[in-house]
Amino acid sequence: MSIHLVLFLFFGAVAVAGAINLLAQSHPINSALSLIAVMAALAGEFLLLGAEFVAAIQVIVYAGAIMVLFVFVIMLLNAGVEERTKGSRVAIMFGIPGMLMGSVLVAWAVLHSYGQDEVVAGALEGAPRDIATLLFREFLLPFEVTSILILIAIMGAVVLASKPQAVQKRKEH
């Protein structure tokens, strides 16, 4: 077992454990923390794959920004322990077996397609400079278009989360 495989298995185990914990926990904040663990472990996997930049961004954006938002909202709404209401039995009955089948299918397809082909870790230097070049040439349009996406998101967040009274206030002015 090479050191890479050991590290892969370690991070992978953390990620899977985090994912399962996310499902098992009944309190949203615990789920959020396990999700952060998954993200951190994935950052590790990215490092193994030689994607240093992506790994760093993963930590900053996902763990540092998106999940903070989640935690913030959980705190803000003081969300309590999940109620075990009747749930959607149908979803559980058909969804989970279906999902299992789907993932087994994908896993089989993947193993079938690639078998033991190995990835040379670090074969691809995810240097920020190269990524930037790609981003500003080949993917210029998608990159620019994301600005609209973000604009919409900001606007939407403001519109939806601001108190409805704001409308009244505006009218009075």
């Binding site: 499902l23 949203p28 996902y62 969300a79 959607s88 939407g156 967040a157």
Partner: protein, 100 residues
């Protein structure tokens, strides 16, 4: 060295966990987190495939996915706040104003 398929299987497992979470969790926020988990699983696939094809573009996609995830998070959490204001609950089973 690690076989590519291991990464992909890991990514499939994470994606499947996300799907499961989406189906079985009752708290809106947790459901939303499950979606994020799915996206993370996809990201791993992208990076692994990028390594396979020696194409940096795979890593660039992750970048875009993150932006999208961030945008979704902003909007989604705003919606969740709005619904909490209106309904005082985060349980999806009680989001039942609109039923047959």
């Amino acid at each position: 060295m690690v076989p590519l398929s291991y990464y992909l299987v890991l990514s499939a497992i994470l994606f499947a966990c996300g799907v499961t979470g989406f189906l079985i969790k009752r708290n809106v926020i947790t459901i939303f987190m499950s979606i994020e988990l799915m996206l993370n699983g996809v990201n791993l696939s992208f990076v692994a495939f990028a390594a396979k094809w020696h194409a940096l573009s795979g890593q660039v996609f992750v970048f875009f996915v993150m932006v999208v995830a961030a945008a979704e998070a902003a909007v989604g959490l705003a919606i969740i706040i709005a619904i909490y204001r209106a309904r005082e609950t985060l349980n999806v089973d009680q989001m039942n104003l609109l039923k047959l």
